[in-house]
């Protein structure tokens, strides 16, 4: 058993690398990435929000209508996002096993210059010397700088850089007035050093962005899960035991009806009906608790009440669809088990009905549910974009979806990392759960 767990844990490593690499490459290859988005934001200035409909300027900037960006600026942005490196290098940087370049600044070597003094902010200077196609950086004392690195940043070959003066005077590099270089700091920071990077849109470390959302998703998801299990397992059992009865038919009809309404659409309707804007003022209009300023002044019990008050509608919308799946699964599985020989035998042996059902039958019929639990947990963590959007809840789902739309790659990757890890662990747990309820399953 112990060995099995260890082996599974080790197997997670290639899975993890494979999954992240796959998504990383797709993200990097996708058109319209964060770079384009930033450029768009700058160039576009602001568009009218409502399209042709006259439009409110709820988005966009103030600079009237955009700026004409010089080519150089685009290159700088490219460098900032690391898009000047090949994909494999970017992945290694993301992992944290390759040097990450930060704080780029531009340098230029005019004709005849071999040394440039560069202001590095905070009244520090770097002295960059040209040595062939290489650049060396010295600090004020004349020591080789450990902090900064410099390189030429042009689309011409090393040989051309070395012989720049010569080629220029012979008229071959006429269109290049000066040599452009970059000076930057380096560091190792990536997933393996515990750095998931910094969100492009929230401008915060990914972990910071995720933390509060985790709480939300866990609160909603686990409550929802708990409620649906608490309802579905007994209901499924009762339905199986009374298979074909009026109760069975009626409850089936009800759960199927509930299943046939999309939860988020239902949530939207609930909100308009009970949110108090237009009809009855029973529940608050969205959010997971009162605004922070009110929230912090509430007593403990008021907080609990406030939380429940806010969570009722989202949880209804969240769970309404899941009842059917679980109940039917439970019911079928139990029916299945009940028809098996060992149950007959148990009855034949004269064991009491209660004992047969609860000890033998139910235990085994939980297997399909147990094997799905990993998947369910993973879904819960991933949150539900729709519900969160409709109820204005800042959960995991909304964050993930928004990150994809906003091309916020650090968040997308961070989301993925968390999701993959959770799924891997959940899978392991569901396999273990399977073994726990079914003694016939052995792990080698």
């Amino acid at each position: 058993m112990f060995n099995y767990v260890i082996r599974r844990l080790l197997l997670m490593i290639p899975t993890f690398l494979g999954a992240t690499l796959l998504v990383f490459v797709i993200l990097q290859m996708a058109p319209g990435g964060p770079l384009e988005k930033t450029i768009m934001q700058i160039q576009m200035g602001s568009t009218n929000g409502g399209g042709g409909e006259g439009g409110a300027t709820s988005s966009g900037s103030t600079s009237g209508a955009g700026t004409l960006l010089p080519k150089r600026a685009i290159k700088e942005l490219e460098r900032f996002y690391g898009f000047d490196k090949p994909v494999w290098q970017r992945y290694l940087i993301w992992l944290g096993v390759w040097e990450r370049e930060i704080k780029h600044r531009n340098l230029t070597f005019k004709s005849g210059e071999t040394e440039v003094k560069k202001n590095m902010g905070k009244r520090r200077y770097a002295y960059v010397k040209k040595n062939g196609a290489k650049l060396e950086v010295y600090d004020k004392e004349g020591n080789i700088s450990t902090l900064w690195t410099a390189r030429f940043d042009m689309d011409i070959s090393d040989a051309e850089i070395i012989n720049f003066e010569e080629l220029k005077s012979s008229g071959k590099l006429q269109d290049i007035p000066k040599l452009e270089a970059t000076i930057f700091e380096t560091e190792y920071s990536g997933i393996l050093t515990g750095n998931l990077g910094k969100s492009y849109t929230y401008q915060q470390p990914v972990i910071e962005v995720m933390k509060p959302r985790f709480k939300v998703s866990i609160l909603l998801g686990l409550t929802g899960l708990l409620i649906s299990y608490l309802v579905c397992i007994p209901l499924g059992i009762k339905k199986a035991l009374n298979h074909g009865s009026k109760f069975d038919l009626l409850s089936s009809a009800i759960i199927f009806m509930a299943y046939s309404i999309p939860g988020w659409a239902f949530g939207g309707v609930l909100l308009v009906l009970f949110g108090g804007g237009s009809f009855w003022d029973v529940f608050p209009l969205g959010g997971l608790h009162s605004p922070q300023e009110i929230w912090v002044n509430l007593s403990f019990f008021e907080k609990i009440f406030d939380q429940i008050h806010h969570a009722i509608l989202p949880i209804i919308a969240w769970t309404i669809g899941s009842f059917a799946v679980l109940t039917v699964l439970m019911k079928n599985s139990l029916l299945d088990t009940m028809s098996q020989d060992y149950i007959r035998t148990a009855f034949a042996k004269g064991l009491s009905e209660k004992r047969v059902i609860w000890v033998h039958a139910v235990r085994n019929s939980v297997i399909p549910i147990a094997s799905g639990i990993g998947h369910i947990i993973a879904t819960i963590i991933a949150g539900s974009y729709f519900i969160e959007m409709i109820f204005n809840i800042n959960g995991f789902g909304k964050m993930g979806f928004q990150a994809i739309l906003d091309r916020d790659y650090p968040i997308t990757m961070g989301f993925l990392v968390i999701a993959v890890i959770i799924r891997l662990i959940a899978n392991l747990l569901s396999d273990l759960a399977l073994a726990a309820v079914d003694p016939r399953i052995r792990f080698k």
Binding site: L11, P14, T15, G18, A19, L22, V23, I26, L27, A30, P31, G32, L241, H243, L249, S252, F256, M257, Y259, S260, I261, P262, A265, G268, V269, V272, A324, V325, V328, L329, N332, S333, L335, D336, M338, S339, F347, E353, I357, I367, P368, S371, G372, H375, F386, G400, I404, L405, T412, F415, L416, A419, V420, R423, L424, N427, L434, D438, R440, I441
Partner: protein, 355 residues
């Protein structure tokens, strides 16, 4: 050999009889199948093109052109002496021909899914009336017509998607559970990696390169959706394999194929069959959600999600919230009932009622 065929036929026959006896599922089945088959010929029922036109001695069948794929659906107004740009407006023709020898027969519901405010008769946000039974949407298109065409698209989408998912999911999941070992290990890794693909993102990326179409969406979703089935199939095969009858079969030296198809599969299929309706439902919901988010089929393709999107952003226009929710509700309910019936019919075991 012959014996086996007869035997299997009789099983299917029995199943069908059993299914027929379950009224709820059976009637739902009849209803959905009928509606679906009818919906394949929707242009004959809901269309702004006439079924039959008799104009100056010649007969035309414009509505039928939409059912036959290789025929051009375009009928110019000038063809029928109508002085309008572009395609003929048959409803107008019908009015203007009141006292002439020319005549035409319109379909039962004479609107199509694309006519919007640019057509003089249409206005936006018209509440339900005798002309537009379910009102019109934000560009003046008839909601009922769009709902019906969307029904056809939704069902087709979900059905194709589910069948593909099942074929792939069952074979891979079953094989994993049965063979175990390295095979299982490899596919588990593969599935773990594969299922971590952010699906929505893939849709967004692909749709930014190619125009999303029916086939493309099916393809993308099949790529990822088969996975959930493997979990259950794998667990089922695991469980069945450890049962005595399988051990017995193995010790008797039966081939893997025989054990899988004859012994394990029929037994393992039951919980999976119950998933068929749910998976269909899932497929319909996927399309609704995608269309709702704007990453589904390109406009102006009719779709429930798109109508719901318009409805939920104009919540006071209740018919656009109500209609897609009800249509979805009704369709999904029927499918679930069918699935319920199917499951019981396919069940080889006879449940013993206790006592």
């Amino acid at each position: 050999m012959t014996q086996q065929i007869i035997k299997s036929e009789s099983i299917n026959h029995k199943r069908w009889r059993k299914f027929k006896s379950l009224k709820r599922g059976y009637y739902s089945f009849i209803l959905i199948i009928t509606l679906y088959i009818l919906s394949l010929f929707l242009p004959l029922f809901i269309n702004s093109k006439a079924l039959v036109v008799q104009y100056e001695g010649d007969y035309y069948f414009p509505a039928f052109s939409e059912v036959i794929p290789w025929v051009s659906t375009y009928y110019d107004g000038n063809m029928f002496g109508q002085d309008i740009p572009g395609a003929a407006n048959f409803r107008q023709l019908q009015k203007s021909w009141d006292d002439s020898d020319n005549w035409l027969i319109m379909p039962i519901y004479p609107f199509n899914t694309f006519e919007d405010i640019t057509n003089n008769e249409n206005r936006m946000y018209e509440p339900p009336s005798t002309t537009h039974w379910l009102g019109t949407d934000n560009t003046g298109r008839d909601v009922l017509a769009r709902m019906c065409y969307a029904f056809n698209i939704s069902i087709s989408f979900a059905f194709v998607l589910t069948v593909l998912n099942f074929i792939i999911g069952i074979s891979i999941g079953g094989a994993m559970g049965y063979f175990g070992g390295k095979f299982d290990l490899f596919f588990q890794r593969f599935i773990e990696i594969w299922s971590s693909l952010p699906l929505l993102f893939v849709v967004i990326i692909i749709s930014s390169i190619i125009q999303p179409s029916f086939a493309l969406l099916i393809f993308i979703y099949t790529m990822v959706n088969w996975i959930f089935l493997t979990y259950y199939m794998r667990a089922e095969f695991y469980r069945e394999k450890s049962k005595d009858y399988v051990s017995a079969a193995i010790s008797m030296g039966q081939s893997d194929t025989k054990i899988i198809f004859k012994h394990i599969l029929p037994n393992s299929l039951i919980p999976v069959i119950t998933y068929f309706p749910f998976s269909m439902v899932g497929g319909i919901l996927v399309l609704v959600s995608l269309d709702f988010l704007g990453f589904g089929l390109p406009p102006p393709t009719p779709s429930w999600g798109q109508i719901l999107y318009v409805g939920l952003s104009n919540i006071t226009k209740w018919w656009m919230v109500f209609s897609p929710i009800m249509a979805q509700f009704f369709t999904l309910l029927c499918i679930v009932f069918i699935g319920e019936g199917l499951r019981e019919a396919f069940d080889p075991k006879i449940y013993s009622r206790l006592r």
